[in-house]
Structure formats: structure tokens, C-alpha cells
């Protein structure tokens, strides 16, 4: 443990300060006003960590390191500037995969050159505790990487959002998981390369296998879960390197992702295990064939414009469909026109609307919708009863009243927005045929107070804007 004695106190302190900066960065997010300052604190923390590391190590070749940072940083900055806000879930998934891969590479580098990390004894044997930490770190990192790659492909549309169900997937996954844990235990007694690289290989495989059976709309849970994993991977690496900044950050990110997964699961009334088991919504077609013939009211853009103009209050309920058709800017224009007519306009957001936590809020913010007009489920649900028009755009399952009444429905018990309590419900939907993600018909379509606006979301909103004059 020569390295522990050699580390000066100021270095330990610097890493601690970096960790505290990261805590403050997250703390800032409690309010949009303080969030920007928080983000800058985060950048300061990262700078402290990097500078401290560079200042305290013998560096063989600074230009190479600098080059790697410039290349990576450049790619990152350009992507951050160019990315469309609707593509944010894919971007976050891609970023997760990079954290995972970086953890694997650092783990592998530490395995090949343990002396540089101060985790080996005189004869080149890696400390036994470090082997466990390293094994866990690369395993979690590899799972994060391959899982995030699949999540990215599904979110980006390169791969079908439908669950892919392999036969015997549960025993296979369980078997691989047990094998990984067994190998990590065995790694303590034998630090041979085959053990290390088998752990990495199996972990890549299980990350892939875990995510392919999970369907598109369960992505909010998946992406939060991978967020959590990336944190645990960083924490495990922090244990290996005895670095407080990494341990603190890993713990923060790990718990952040875990809490987000919990919030998402609660909003769908599903257990985390059932989401991870996958396959939800895979058996959808067939049962609803009879329902399609039921009578419903269909309206035009002019009808919708007339109804909303007369209203005192309109609540807009956006969903994934709004993101797909990029309707947020047209929607804001519509809201402005209505406000000019003296109508109160609010937005109601379900926690699982969209493909990642907070997805809808970002899109509305992008369209310049003030954040104090945007409300969460619990804060606005009681207001639908006093609302003249609920305008549902691109959301489906989160408005389904069956979740409250029909015990046989797969979404029974899920908290939903009480849109049906509004005097009139305007429901923008591409066609009557399709069902929501859960594969259930929405009772709401056939109610007397519902008017279906069948069209592409953006086109419909633009027509309404025109009709509003």
C-alpha cells in the first residue's frame, strides 16, 4: 500500500471538493433558476478532478492525452449543439454507453498495468480486494455499454421498439449472471487473463440480452436503470482506484438512476422486476378487433378551434406522439392564439409521457412554453373537472379511464390523467385503428364528451391555428 502513504493530503482534499461540486450540481436542479449555476459548479468539479490527476502523476506523453481530450471533447460539443431536442433520449442512451465502455477500458488498463494504479504488490499480483472491485466495475460497465447500445438502437428507430422474446431467456440470463458472479469470486484466487476477459465478454452478452425483450414505451425505466448502472460502474472503479471523487459521483448517479426508475415504475403501476422481465405489450393485436367498430364522434380543426375559443380553461396533455411529429412549436402557437382570446392554457404531464423522464418538459421548454404553465400529474389532476377542454395530443394509455375501473385491463391501477372529467375532450390521433403501447383500446374515444381529431398531430395543430385566425 505504498501509494496510500504517498498521496498528499491536498490531493485527497481536491477530489473531495470535486465530489462536493457534483453534489451541488444535482442540488441546483431543484429549481430551474438555480439549475444553470449548478451545472457550472459541476463543470468546476470536473476541472478540479482532471487537473488534480494530471498534476499528481508522472505523465509520459501529454500531447497524446491532450489529443484524446480534444477529439472526444470536440465530438461531444458538436453533438450537444446539433442534437434535436426530440432526439434527447437517444443521446442520453449513447452517453450512457460511453460511460460503460470507458469503465471497461479503465478496468482493462488497470488489469494490464496494476502498478500504475498502485493496486499491485511487489511481484505484480493485484490486491485481492481490488480484484473484486475491478471485476464488479468492468462487469457493470460492460452491461451498461451493451444495454445502452440496444436502448439507443431502439430509441433511434434502427431497431424495432417491439420486444424480442427469445425462448428460455430467463434461465439463460440467470445462468450468465451466476457465471459472472462466480467468475468474479474465482478471480480473487486466479488473476489469469481468461478469467478477466470472460467476465467482460459475458457481461457484454447479458447487457444485450437484458434489454432486447423490453419494449419501446418501457424505455423510460430502461434508460433510468442504465443511468443507475453507469453510476455504480464509476463507483466500483472509484473503489479500485481509491478515489473519493469517483466514489461520491458513482453513488450520486447510481441513486439518481435508481430513484428515476422507481418513479417511472410507480407511474406505470408496474414492478421493476416485471419491466426488466420484458415482453410487455408484445401480445396486442387480435383482442381489439371488435372494439374498432364502435361509434365515435369525429371533429374537424374548425370544430376544435371553435370549442377552445369558447373555453375558460384548456389543459393540453402531450405525449410521445407530439415528440414524433415535432408538434411542440405549433402547439405553443396555438396556445398563444388561445391566450389572446382570453383562454387560460395549462399543460399536464404524466411522468411516463415520452421516452425518458422529463422528456415532454424539455420539448415544451424548447418551444418557449413557460415552465410555470406546465404541471405534473398530481398537481393538476383535480383541475380537469373544472376544465372546459382537455386537448390530448399524442398521449394514449396515460389518459385511459380503464386504468381506474377495469380490473382486467393490463394497465389497471396505473395513475392516469382524469381528462374524461373535462367538459369536452379533444383527442388528436393519427387513426382509430392503432392501440396504445399497452395494447388496450381506450374507452375515452367512445365517450359522448370526446371528439376525435384524426390526423397527424402537427398538421392538426397547424390547421387549428389557422382556424383560430
Amino acid at each position: 500500500m505504498a501509494e496510500a502513504a504517498a498521496t498528499p493530503a491536498w490531493v485527497l482534499l481536491a477530489y473531495l471538493i470535486a465530489g462536493v461540486c457534483f453534489i451541488l450540481a444535482l442540488r441546483g436542479l431543484s429549481n430551474p433558476e438555480s439549475s444553470r449555476r449548478g451545472n457550472i459548479t459541476g463543470m468546476i468539479g470536473m476541472t478540479i478532478a482532471i487537473v488534480t490527476t494530471l498534476a499528481t502523476h508522472q505523465i509520459a506523453s501529454l500531447p497524446e492525452i491532450f489529443g484524446a481530450m480534444v477529439i472526444g471533447g470536440g465530438v461531444g460539443l458538436v453533438t450537444a449543439r446539433k442534437i434535436q431536442m426530440t432526439a434527447m433520449p437517444q443521446l442520453v442512451a449513447a452517453f450512457h454507453s460511453l460511460v460503460g465502455m470507458a469503465a471497461v477500458l479503465v478496468g482493462a488498463a488497470a488489469y494490464l498495468n496494476p502498478e500504475a494504479f498502485g493496486i499491485a504488490d511487489m511481484v505484480g499480483h493485484i490486491h485481492q480486494v481490488s480484484r473484486i472491485e475491478m471485476g464488479l466495475g468492468v462487469a457493470i460497465g460492460a452491461i451498461t455499454f451493451s444495454g445502452s447500445v440496444i436502448a439507443f438502437l431502439k430509441l433511434n428507430g434502427n431497431m424495432s421498439g417491439k420486444p424480442i422474446l427469445l425462448p428460455l431467456r430467463h434461465p439463460i440470463n440467470l445462468g450468465i449472471l451466476v457465471a459472472i458472479l462466480g467468475l468474479i469470486a474465482y478471480f480473487v484466487t486466479d488473476q489469469g487473463p481468461w478469467v478477466f476477459f470472460t467476465i467482460v465478454g459475458l457481461s457484454f452478452a447479458i447487457g444485450f440480452l437484458l434489454i432486447i425483450p423490453i419494449g419501446g414505451a418501457d424505455m423510460p425505466v430502461v434508460i433510468s436503470m442504465l443511468n443507475s448502472y453507469s453510476g455504480w460502474a464509476a463507483a466500483a472503479m472509484g473503489f479500485t482506484l481509491h478515489n473519493t471523487a469517483m466514489v461520491i459521483t458513482g453513488a450520486l448517479v447510481g441513486s439518481s438512476g435508481a430513484i428515476l426508475s422507481y418513479i417511472m415504475c410507480r407511474a406505470m403501476n408496474r414492478s421493476f422486476l416485471s419491466v426488466i422481465a420484458g415482453g410487455f405489450g408484445a401480445v396486442s393485436s387480435g383482442a381489439d378487433a371488435a372494439a374498432i367498430d364502435r361509434p365515435y364522434k369525429r371533429g374537424s380543426a374548425e370544430d376544435a378551434a371553435f370549442l377552445m375559443k369558447q373555453a375558460d380553461q384548456v389543459i393540453i396533455v402531450p405525449g410521445y406522439g407530439m415528440a414524433v411529429s415535432q408538434a411542440q412549436h405549433a402547439l405553443k402557437e396555438m396556445a398563444d392564439k388561445l391566450k389572446a382570446e382570453g383562454v387560460r392554457v395549462k399543460y399536464a404531464i404524466h411522468p411516463v409521457a415520452g421516452r425518458m423522464p422529463g422528456h415532454m418538459n424539455v420539448l415544451l421548454a424548447e418551444a418557449n412554453v413557460p415552465y410555470d404553465e406546465v404541471f405534473e400529474l398530481d398537481d393538476i389532476n383535480s383541475e380537469f373537472a373544472q376544465t372546459d377542454v382537455a386537448f390530448v395530443i399524442g398521449a394514449n394509455d396515460v389518459t385511459n379511464p380503464a386504468a381506474k375501473t377495469d380490473k382486467s385491463s393490463p394497465i389497471y391501477g396505473m395513475p392516469v390523467l382524469d381528462v374524461e372529467k373535462a367538459r369536452t375532450v379533444l383527442f388528436v390521433k393519427r387513426s382509430m385503428g392503432g392501440v396504445g403501447y399497452a395494447g388496450v383500446d381506450n374507452e375515452l374515444f367512445y365517450r359522448d364528451n370526446t371528439m376525435m381529431l384524426l390526423s397527424d398531430a402537427k398538421k392538426m395543430v397547424e390547421e387549428i391555428v389557422k382556424a383560430l385566425g
Partner: protein, 96 residues
């Protein structure tokens, strides 16, 4: 530092994380994910240590690749978070 001190820091940080994250407003959950992405790339510290040492070339190159990947995340993550956060605005009060 010995294992127990690091473990203590880790456990306490988990609690800090738990309380801090629950106080994050749901409207900012997407920026939360992108900023956690950026900060978890503090793993770059490990990558820098690996790439600083020339003793084992393989290890050095793995480290350099890891530095590049983590840099994508650090710069990209903070920048995209800042871009998102700058979009959140309050209602403009333009009375009269």
C-alpha cells in the same frame, strides 16, 4: 485510504444522493440524466492515470481511448445540459 473509509464515504454519498435527487423537480428530470451522465465521466481520472504511464503500451492505449470516450461525455453532457437549462423560462409578464 483503506477499504472501510472508502466504503463509509460511499454509503454516506448514497444517502446524500437519495435526498438530493428526490428534491429535483420532475420538470428537470431530463437535464438530471444528462448531467449525471457528464459527472459519471469523472471515470476519466482512471483513464488519465492509465494513459499517463508508458510502462505497458496496451494499457496506455486503452487509457487514451477511455480518455477520448469520457471527454465526449464530459463536454457533450455539460454542454447539452446547459443548452436545455437555458430553455426553461418563466412566464413573461408583459402587462399593458
Amino acid at each position: 485510504m483503506d477499504f472501510i473509509s472508502i466504503l463509509s464515504i460511499f454509503v454516506l454519498a448514497c444517502f446524500v444522493g437519495y435526498y438530493v435527487v428526490w428534491s429535483v423537480t420532475p420538470a428537470l428530470h431530463t437535464p438530471l440524466m444528462s448531467v449525471t451522465n457528464a459527472i459519471s465521466s469523472v471515470i476519466v481520472v482512471g483513464a488519465l492515470i492509465a494513459s499517463a504511464s508508458a510502462a505497458v503500451p496496451g494499457s496506455k492505449w486503452l487509457g487514451l481511448v477511455a480518455v477520448a470516450l469520457a471527454s465526449v461525455n464530459i463536454f457533450g453532457g455539460f454542454a447539452v445540459t446547459q443548452r436545455m437549462l437555458s430553455m426553461y423560462k418563466k412566464k413573461e409578464r408583459k402587462d399593458g
